[in-house]
């Protein structure tokens, strides 16, 4: 047993490397086969890039931790330090290189033309001239198409929308990365993949500038995985081991099990019972997202109510410079889009040394924004309280602040409750914007589920119902409060 202490020492030495997780950013809504939620088990993360980054993390002796972020926010998120690396079909292009550093490519592919099954001849860029072609916004395919002046280009946020528009005759063809075509167009019996590969592109793992040590380790891991065939095996499981992707083979073949699993899980479900069973499997996800939506909205509304009241009272009763500042605040906030404010607070403020976590940033952004609207709402309420009420209070020797607090605000409040209810319901819906700062609330859950299953109708109804259920109790509560607060005045009208 003399070797036991030595073994323990070795284990202890190995521990520190394992303790620090590798945080990797991706957008699980950007779809198959990259990083996405298993259609058969929506809470499980899958995708060939998920497999690759987990294998890389394993080789570095670090536990992988996925950080969800909007695809457009992946590179800003790297710069903000939300995660160590980003992997999500990010193309190695000169434009991207200006913002981040890349690992060696882990996958090479090309753009694939997809047309309707009954079409013939549209099998090259030249043949597509004079036709309407769809693709994803700001992708390499988009840039290739823009270079062909005779082609009318329509850009999309979601690949599923492009393919369904093609099936519905709104487009003549779709040009997108081959893996997307393979996973979204090939299973669709109305569509077919045609023509030779167009262009070529390489995906790399992105790092913030200056992360050279980590980047070197990842490069080494990727090279090792190429050498020993494990990268190839991952791609084979996903049916992605095209000659472009892996180069000359080592003669190993594994079955495309992940691809088969995907096909089976997304196959159209004929029976109503099976369909309902699938919807039932969504419920935990939807419940979690609804909880987040509700908590973010409620916290933001509390902030908005308090802030709005302070702003409105300051503006009406405060000393002139403060009243002016309150007015300025309201005008600036009302005059700029909420989306910009959220992005500014989350990605912009760290430049001033203010770092908020996503939840706090979402609550603060929504609260600051709605505070401005509540302030205007309360201002109207304060103005509608008759002047005689304040005079009576002052004659009773109250100070101005006491009069505002005990006489004016309670009466103004009664008048603004209906508007506040409206605002809260509107806030509930606007909270969907916090999905841009990595929070997975109801709307982003809808996008995730509907693009995974090509089912915008059923999931849409589910998510819509969730929003309604969230809003209804507040409508009811507000009616109750209104009735309570309207006592006295209401009775007089009777």
């Amino acid at each position: 047993m003399r070797w036991l202490p030595a073994l323990c020492c070795c284990l202890l030495l190995a521990m520190p490397a394992a303790a620090e997780p590798l945080r990797w950013g991706a957008d699980a809504q950007s779809g198959a086969p990259y990083v996405f939620h298993d259609p058969a088990e929506p809470s499980r993360l899958t995708g060939f890039e998920t497999d690759i980054i987990e294998a890389v993390a394993h080789r570095l002796g670090r536990g992988p931790v996925m950080v969800q972020n909007d695809w457009d926010g992946l590179i800003p998120g790297l710069q903000r330090g939300l995660y160590d690396a980003a992997i999500d079909g990010i193309e190695i292009t000169p434009e991207h290189r200006q913002a981040v550093d890349f690992s060696i490519p882990y996958f090479r592919t090309f753009e694939q033309i997809v047309v309707r099954r009954d079409q013939a001849g549209l099998d090259s860029l030249a043949a597509l001239r004079g036709h309407v072609v769809g693709t994803l916004k700001a992708s390499l395919a988009d840039r290739i198409l823009q270079g062909e002046p005779a082609i009318a280009v329509r850009t999309y946020d979601e690949e599923t929308n492009a393919y369904s528009d093609l099936a519905l005759h709104r487009l003549d063809a779709v040009l997108l990365d081959w893996p997307i075509a393979l996973y979204y167009a090939a299973p669709d019996t109305r569509l077919k993949l045609v023509g030779a590969p167009v262009g070529d592109l390489a995906y790399g793992i992105a790092f913030a500038r200056g992360q050279d040590a980590l980047r070197g380790q990842v490069d080494q891991a990727l090279r090792d995985m190429q050498q020993d065939g494990s990268l190839r095996r991952i791609l084979q499981r996903w049916n992605l081991a095209s000659p472009q992707a892996v180069g000359p083979g080592l003669g190993i073949t594994v079955p495309s099990s992940a691809w088969q699993h995907y096909l089976a899980a997304t196959a159209p479900i004929p029976g109503l019972a099976d369909r309902l069973r699938r919807y039932a499997s969504f419920l935990p996800l939807i419940a979690r997202a609804a909880g987040l939506t509700l908590v973010v909205s409620a916290c933001a509304m509390v902030l908005a109510v308090v802030l709005g009241l302070i702003l409105a009272v300051t503006r009406r009763y405060g000393p002139r410079p403060l009243a002016f500042l309150a007015m300025l605040y309201v005008e600036i906030v009302r005059g700029t889009p909420l989306l910009i404010q959220i992005l500014f607070i989350f990605y912009g403020l760290p430049g001033l040394g203010i770092r908020l976590d996503p939840f706090l940033a979402g609550v603060v952004a929504l609260g600051l924004n709605y505070g401005a609207y509540e302030a205007e709402n309360y201002r109207a309420g304060l103005q509608s309280v008759p002047l005689g009420q304040v005079e009576a209070a002052v004659a009773l020797n109250m100070t101005q602040m006491q009069a505002v607090r005990h006489v004016v605000v309670p009466q103004a409040f009664r008048l603004v409750v209906p508007v506040m209810t409206n605002d809260f319901i509107s806030l509930l819906k606007d909270s969907s914007l916090v999905s841009v700062i990595t929070l997975t609330e109801l709307s982003s859950t809808y996008v995730r589920l509907s693009t995974t299953y090509f089912d915008y109708l059923g999931t849409g109804l589910l998510i819509g119902a969730a929003y309604l259920l969230l809003g209804l109790p507040f409508v009811h509560l507000a009616r109750l409060a209104e009735r309570r607060l309207a006592r006295g005045v209401g009775e007089a009208r009777r």
Binding site: A392, N397, Q402, V407, G488
Partner: protein
């Protein structure tokens, strides 16, 4: 050339106004008005509309800030020499208002509170009286003005006469030494004015100092210790009711009183 209003023999002056001037947007409303009121007196202010009697009354508790002149109530003075109204002035006004209650033409009861809460509010907030003593005091006042049975109702459900009596009770709740009334019965139907005037007479009998802006000539004549006739921001004439009505010293007073007799 103004009738100076000295305190009468009933006691020392508790309210003093000296040379009050006030203009609104350059239009003079009070033009050097002076009045002393003795403790326990009931003085009525009468005169044509626009003569400044309401403005004068509101200057006495500094709801309206005079441009120049001095206001004293129960030994607390606010002197104005045309300068800015500052924080120190506001604090002095606060001390002065401690001794003054006011009743408005439109009642101005707090619409969101019951009658009882209306009366308890100022003692609770201003005097920081605990709930129970404030409640006991309010109930006693409601009893005094005959409204015990409507304590828990909201103002809007009461008649005008009841509302004005509640407003008087509310003004009395901070135990003022002087009560000001700004046309207290003008918004009331004729059959409801008497119940309000009866309360004011009762207060007079209890020794309260009261200053009343009114068009109720019968009340003024019957209840006042003195009546002041105002015109164009000045007191033209002030006298005991009997002598003012029987034998006005001024031609304008005679002309004004003719409308009512």
């Amino acid at each position: 050339m103004e009738a100076t209003a000295g305190p009468d023999e009933t006691g020392p002056a508790i309210v003093r106004a000296r040379e009050l001037h006030k203009s609104f947007d350059g239009t003079p409303v009070l033009q050097g008005l002076s009045l002393d009121v003795a403790e326990g007196e009931l003085v009525s202010l009468i005169g044509p509309s626009g003569c400044g009697k309401s403005t004068f009354l509101r200057c006495l508790n500094l709801l309206e800030i005079p441009d120049r002149g001095t206001v004293s109530v129960a030994g607390i003075s606010v002197q104005r020499t045309g300068g800015r109204w500052g924080r120190g002035d506001e604090e002095q006004a606060h001390r002065l208002r401690r001794g003054v209650g006011m009743v408005f033409q439109g009642f101005n009861l707090f619409a969101h509170r019951t009658v009882l809460d209306n009366i308890m509010l100022a003692p609770r907030v201003v005097q920081r009286l605990p709930r129970e003593p404030a409640r006991a005091r309010a109930m006693a006042l409601l009893d005094k003005v005959g409204l015990s049975d409507v304590a828990d109702r909201y103002p809007a459900t009461l008649s005008g006469g009841q509302q004005q009596r509640a407003a008087i009770a509310r003004a009395l709740a901070c135990e003022p030494r002087v009560m000001l009334y700004d046309e207290p019965t003008s918004a009331l139907d004729p059959e409801l004015t008497d119940e309000v005037l009866a309360v004011m007479r009762q207060l007079d009998r209890d020794g309260m100092t009261q200053i009343v802006v009114t068009h109720e000539m019968r009340f003024a004549r019957a209840a006042s210790d003195r009546i002041a006739f105002m015109q164009q921001g000045r007191i033209v004439e002030i006298a005991e009711p009997a002598s003012l009505f029987a034998n006005p010293a001024h031609a304008d007073t005679r002309r004004f009183l003719k409308h009512f007799l």
